[in-house]
């Protein structure tokens, strides 16, 4: 029954995974370019963002066509609404990667205030959470969707570590404050990515159970 519809749904899920992978590459690339102060690489990250946007629009368009032509109900309808939402979340994560790239460009010749240690770890953890969240969504795996938001605490802890370290370094020197601020922005962007991973997990649970609820990580 409804074979062509099933195929359309599968294609949409595939496209979502591709978009997720692209954003993951973008995030890792943005942090690596920042760590190595590679301006050319940061410019490439900004270019990738256009690809991310157009993939998101394409998914939106396909979802609307599917809704209009197949008139889905119940779980199918929730799934399609969730795909729309998640495509939007992924695009915003891409914007965070672009934000990190812009910071690197804005820094110009300035050296990093301190070599990056915790931020690349944050980036790796964020990307791993993101990857698992997207896969959990396409597999409609609510156990995984319930577990992933608890990992957000690790990201928050790393962010706090970055923050405390930077605060210990800055004095009254305006220049130093600015250089610390750049690094803090990058960490902040990653922290936001992790929060949005939780939103994806919420959509997975909604798709499967029909229940819309906010998942809170344990520290909240």
């Amino acid at each position: 029954m409804r074979k062509s519809f099933e195929t359309e749904i599968q294609q949409l899920k595939d496209e979502l995974v591709v978009l997720g992978n692209l954003v993951e590459q973008q995030l890792l690339g943005a942090v690596e370019a920042f760590r190595t102060r590679d301006i050319a690489a940061s410019k490439k990250i900004i270019e990738i963002d256009e690809d991310v946007n157009s993939k998101r629009y394409h998914i939106e368009e396909q979802v609307l066509i599917t809704i209009a032509t197949q008139q889905p109900m119940a779980r199918d309808l929730r799934l399609l609404a969730s795909i729309l939402e998640i495509a939007g979340e992924l695009e915003r994560m891409g914007d965070y990667a672009k934000g990190i790239a812009k910071i690197n460009i804005r820094m110009g010749d300035e050296e990093l205030l301190t070599p990056l240690v915790n931020i690349p770890i944050m980036a790796k953890k964020c990307v791993s959470m993101l990857d698992r969240a997207v896969i959990a969504f396409v597999n409609e795996n609510i156990d995984e969707a319930n577990v992933l938001p608890t990992l957000d605490d690790e990201i928050d802890n790393l962010y706090n570590l970055v923050y405390t370290n930077l605060m210990g370094m800055i004095g009254n020197d305006e220049k130093t404050i600015q250089r610390a601020n750049w690094i803090l922005w990058v960490a902040h962007n990653l922290e936001r990515v992790a929060d949005r991973v939780t939103n994806i997990c919420e959509r997975t649970i909604f798709t499967v159970t029909g229940e819309l609820k906010e998942i809170r990580s344990s520290d909240q």
Binding site: M1, R2, F5, Q71, P72, M73, A74, L77, R78, G210
Partner: protein, 258 residues
């Protein structure tokens, strides 16, 4: 769901054609001044249930029910209840528009006249046609044959005819399935304006129509291992089409049934 004052209420309703039990153990309440849709696959007893609500099934020989249907606190199948009276208070609109081969005016006036209506017939015809959203289209051709109208107009005329005897409930059996999409939308809009004054129960094969036009939806399906239909889920329409509780409802509304 437990309503404070439902218009119609069934208690362990079973409907038989001879020995064959077509509908099994239905317990539902029809909310007042709302539109309730009955959906489900072919042959699951939707029309049979609908027709039980105004004792229309009795026109088929050897039909009987077990259990009861309570209408405004009274047993609809009680000994002292006149089925003809029931059909005035609970009107029916059918799938195929079936106006009488008479003038537009007479189609509306006739039943009221038979029923002993003592008011001004012209006013009744105008108000009924207005409520049925047909007045503007026919006010200058009231003497013309009803059969000269389009299918959609004929169906609205049948609704006007049902309204003319001032019923409390209007039953509709696939009222738009013979109509084009524009005429269908007109009927659906009409239903929305009618529910201020009447309670509407509609049987439809068109799930989108149930989703668009009704407040409550009753999902029917054959009871397990039988050829007899029953209500498996009764919910607010918004809930039933987005978060159905029963797996069989889910399968049906998502097109994975069967």
């Amino acid at each position: 769901m437990n309503l404070i004052s439902p218009v119609l209420e069934t208690h362990n309703l079973n409907i038989y054609y001879g020995d064959f039990r077509a509908v099994t153990d239905v317990n539902i309440q029809i909310p007042r001044h709302k539109i309730t849709a009955i959906i489900g696959p072919s042959g699951c007893g939707k029309s049979t249930l609908l027709r039980a609500f105004n004792r229309m099934n009795e026109l088929v020989p050897n039909t009987h029910i077990e259990g009861e249907i309570i209408f405004e606190g009274q047993n609809l199948y009680g000994r002292d209840i006149d089925p003809v009276e029931v059909r005035y208070r609970i009107g029916m609109v059918f799938q195929k528009p079936n106006p009488f081969p008479k003038s537009i005016y007479e189609n509306v006036a006739w039943a009221a006249r038979i029923h002993g209506y003592r008011g001004n017939l012209d006013e009744l015809v105008e108000s009924s046609l207005t409520k049925a959203a047909l007045w503007d289209e026919v006010k200058d051709i009231l003497k013309q044959s009803a059969l000269s109208l389009s299918g959609g107009q004929q169906q609205r005329l049948c609704i006007a005819r049902a309204i003319a005897v001032q019923p409390e409930v209007i039953l509709m059996d696939e009222p738009a399935s013979a109509l084009d999409p524009i005429a269908t939308l007109k009927i659906e809009e009409l239903m929305q304006s009618l529910k201020k004054d009447y309670t509407i129960v509609i049987v439809t094969h068109n799930m989108q129509q149930a989703a668009r036009a009704s407040d409550y939806t009753s999902m029917m399906m054959l009871a397990e291992n039988t050829r007899s239909g029953t209500v498996i889920e009764f919910e607010e329409t918004n809930t039933l089409f987005t978060r159905p509780k029963d797996k069989r409802t889910e399968d049906y509304v998502t097109g994975r049934f069967g």
